[in-house]
């Protein structure tokens, strides 16, 4: 493992030094090799992957044409090669030059303005000596030379019809580019997927993955797996039919597409071999759970994060809310919205599903990241998948079988359900037990249901958590916000919002008055180890390192470092704008750096700008909570930190 990593790094360093040259030799090799591949669409013809050790599988992979060098690069902590850090989505780095004893001395090393004033989600990639950055719409990509004070080696300015902005719910964020095989993959707001030469920025190919006139847009990053790149779709508030699709890395050709709803063949579901909580899923599992053809505007979009386990050869992701926010208008469990999906990357066939929130009544999109870890439960080592869902429950599953192991609330304020039933013999197995007082379906249309926790933005939205193998803990940025929710009847028009509920949100009552917490979580037991109250929702992705520290950003704009064991704050610095980006780290020239994008926006910038009101606390409290706009203003900046020389 380690050996190949170092080779990979060496190759990259050479590549980066040639940034200004027009070399394209490796590309040609890749492309020539890729055309040798047999047609991949015939799924039944696929043979079983070679069994054996991880190393053997990797060797086999590397032997195939155009295969990914990404997996080996991921093990090199000097680079940050994937938005999530690694396929397992741990957001953990082995770098330890910056540690809990010296992080208090951290300084700003350099900064870079992106030229765009909008919500900046995602973060920079570091590949060899190059850094790659993406902006919100218009999704400009910068390649910066780390050997030359961040000089711009190339930039790519997509030409997009600004009308796409009009169908992007909640800001024009983009959670960053991906890298593989000397290629940068950009999935633009208008659903154009572009492959750029990593050294020159030259367009290799470009393909449209969706139709913005139907409300189909993109905010997510993509995931390179094997010789493909996995792509999702946004538009859950527009009646978009969610799906995950795989495109050929070399040509941009569509390899497979798996819908979240509809007939089995559309979802790439095998009624016998695809399982739900250990049992065959059966025929027509989705269409039987909707009224009429509502599954066609059923949502289940896929705008979150994607994980991959190379050993099990399975990919994991979640699906979003079903259709309208008015639950009375769409009776049934609305499968497979709000679901964790495990699929075979070669043909997209579904291995197992688990629906977290059947018949959603609160807009608890199930798209949050699935973190893949190996930990001991009841004395037994397990291959785990850990998911902090918007609905306020943290789920621990066996990622091989989809067996549900733990489901516990990770914010004590969560009240819409009492528990998730863990008894396999119960007809409620795996289902949340909804509290009638907080059920917007039982309340019915035109009834305002009050004091539901969490609010529609969830106990956590897409902002990714981190996992440290040293402490065995997850570090989770959370929202501490509740809501009133009044559903009403709406009609569907293609390309128009399809919402159907009136919402008002406020800080969790009877708590610390703030709208967020940053917590440490034990996924084997389902317990909060410590919890740091925050004035605003924590909307940045966390980073854990071998230096026994955890980093996160706040909406006021602070970068904070805390002790991974105790949560004690060790460092803070106020960047120019609120942070909704994800913290990354890398090493260059023997020195460790920490990097983060500032730029307030997203749902946080919209919902919290003016401050929240709490109608239940009487008129005196109205406007009494802090408005985010009193603390920060629009921005778009990268800030890079290091220890003093």
């Amino acid at each position: 493992m380690r050996r190949s990593l170092m080779m990979s790094a060496a190759v990259l360093a050479v590549g980066a030094a040639q940034a200004f040259a027009q070399e394209a030799q490796t590309d040609q090799t890749d492309q020539a090799a890729t055309t040798d591949q047999t047609a991949p669409a015939d799924q039944t013809a696929q043979t079983e992957p070679a069994t054996g050790t991880d190393e053997a599988t990797q060797t086999a992979d590397a032997g195939q044409a155009g295969q990914s060098d990404l997996q080996t690069m991921m093990g090199d902590p000097k680079q940050w090669v994937l938005q999530a850090g690694d396929y397992a989505n741990t957001r953990y780095s082995e770098l330890e030059e910056i540690n809990k004893d010296n992080v208090g001395d951290l300084q700003v090393a350099w900064t870079f303005s992106t030229g765009v004033l909008r919500g900046h989600e995602g973060g920079p990639l570091v590949i060899g000596d190059m850094m790659y950055l993406t902006t919100p719409f218009p999704n400009t990509v910068y390649a910066l030379d780390l050997n030359n004070d961040g000089r711009i080696v190339w930039r790519y300015d997509p030409q997009q019809d600004p009308n796409v902005i009009a169908v992007m719910c909640c800001d024009t964020v983009n959670r960053g580019v991906a890298y593989d095989n000397n290629t940068i993959f950009l999935h633009q707001a208008d659903t154009t997927l572009v492959a750029l030469d990593a050294m020159t920025g030259e367009v290799k190919w470009s393909v449209k993955t969706g139709d913005p006139s139907k409300g189909e847009t993109n905010t997510a990053t993509v995931l390179p797996v094997k010789d493909m790149v996995l792509v999702g779709v946004s538009g859950g508030e527009y009646g978009v039919r969610g799906r995950l699709s795989a495109y050929d890395q070399a040509t941009g050709e569509l390899r497979w597409l798996a819908y979240s709803t509809g007939p089995d063949e559309d979802m790439l579901v095998d009624p016998q071999n695809t399982t739900v909580l250990g049992k065959p899923i059966g025929e027509n599992s989705s269409i039987d759970s909707w009224e009429g053809d509502q599954w066609q505007i059923g949502g289940g979009t896929t705008w979150g994060w994607y994980s991959y386990d190379p050993e099990l050869d399975l990919i994991y992701y979640g699906t979003g809310n079903p259709g309208t926010w008015n639950p009375s208008q769409r009776p049934g469990d609305n499968k497979w919205s709000m679901t964790i999906m495990a699929r075979d990357p070669d043909d997209g066939m579904a291995r197992w599903f688990y629906q977290k929130t059947p018949h959603d009544e609160w807009d608890y999109d199930g798209v949050n990241e699935n973190i893949l870890v190996d930990q001991e439960i009841d004395g037994q080592m397990r291959h785990l998948l850990v998911n902090f869902d918007r609905n306020g429950f943290a789920y621990t599953l066996d990622r091989e079988t989809g067996e549900l192991l733990v489901a516990k609330k990770y914010d004590p304020a969560v009240n819409w359900a009492t528990e998730v039933v863990m008894d396999p013999n119960s007809d409620q197995f795996g289902r949340p037990q909804v509290v009638a007082d907080y059920s917007t379906a039982q309340g019915g249309e035109d009834t305002n249901v009050t004091q539901i926790c969490p609010a529609a933005l969830g106990s956590k939205d897409q902002q990714p958590a981190a996992f440290s193998p040293e402490t065995g803990l997850f570090y989770v940025p959370t929202n501490h916000v509740c809501m009133d929710y009044e559903p009403f009847r709406v009609s569907y028009t293609a390309g128009q919002p399809f919402v159907g509920a009136t919402l008002s949100m406020y800080p969790a009552p009877n708590s610390h008055g703030g709208m967020g917490n940053f917590i440490a979580w034990d996924a084997t037991t389902g317990e909060i180890k410590w919890s740091l109250p925050e004035q605003f929702s924590v909307w940045s992705g966390a980073l854990a390192t071998a230096g026994d520290i955890v980093f996160y950003g706040t909406l006021e704009g602070y970068l904070k470092a805390v002790d991974a064991t105790t949560g004690e704050e060790l460092y803070r610095f106020k960047t120019p704008s609120g942070i909704i980006g994800n913290i990354n780290t890398y090493e260059h020239d023997g020195k460790q750096y920490v990097a983060v994008l500032s730029g307030i926006g997203g749902w946080a910038g919209i919902g919290l700008a003016a401050g929240l009101t709490n109608p239940t606390e009487g008129l005196g409290a109205v406007g009494g909570y802090a408005g985010l706009r009193d603390f920060t203003a629009l921005g778009g900046q990268l800030t890079v930190f290091a220890l003093p020389d």
């Binding site: 600004p162 009308n163 009009a166 709406v490 390309g495 307030i600 919902g607 003016a610 706009r629 629009l634």
Partner: protein, 177 residues
């Protein structure tokens, strides 16, 4: 893709105020007339026959203001923030409606508008063919005017008039239900 219609005169006025993304600036223009001149079937109008709100002494709001609160917090707040207060993404509509002529307001909602460039992109969609918005446009308008004049505080109005039969019939006709 849908092309937003853009009434030129409206656009010229809007350009002056469009780039206020994190909007909360006070309005300096003379306050338009919101005083009630007449009532008809539970709807209120000013002297120029423009829809307006009605707030009773005990705080009870008319049906359209209440309905406007509900529709705003379904269709508008995901960009313009709660209570018409504006956001990092879009201007504070409680201020915009005090500046804009009623007919300009209707034109912008129906036709959309754009102000793109300078690292700060504002694009308002065209809602002209969206019944969930257009059937409630007057409701949203009077609600926002009530907010813009501070006639009602932030949050859900505590008390409201009942929906009249005429309003119900017109709503059903508009929504096609």
């Amino acid at each position: 893709m849908r092309k937003p219609g853009s009434p030129g005169a409206v656009l010229a006025i809007l350009m002056l105020t469009a780039s206020v993304g994190w909007s909360q600036q006070a309005d300096t223009a003379a306050a338009p007339d919101t005083a009630v001149a007449r009532e008809e079937d539970g709807r209120y109008f000013n002297a120029e026959d423009i829809p307006t709100f009605h707030i009773a002494e005990d705080g009870t709001v008319d049906w359209r203001t209440y309905s406007g609160y509900r529709r705003y917090h379904s269709e508008c707040h995901v960009c313009h923030g709660p209570d018409g207060e504006g956001s990092s993404y879009a201007p504070a509509l409680k201020n915009s409606v005090m500046r804009l002529d009623y007919y300009d307001f209707v034109g912008i909602v129906a036709g959309g508008r754009q102000n793109v460039g300078g690292g700060h992109e504002n694009v308002m969609p065209a809602f002209g063919d969206n019944a969930n918005v257009m059937c409630y446009l007057d409701d949203i308008y009077v609600y926002l005017r009530a907010r813009g004049t501070d006639a009602i505080p932030r949050g859900r109005p505590a008390k409201h008039d009942d929906k009249t039969d005429v309003i119900r019939e017109d709503e059903n006709a508009c929504m096609g239900t």
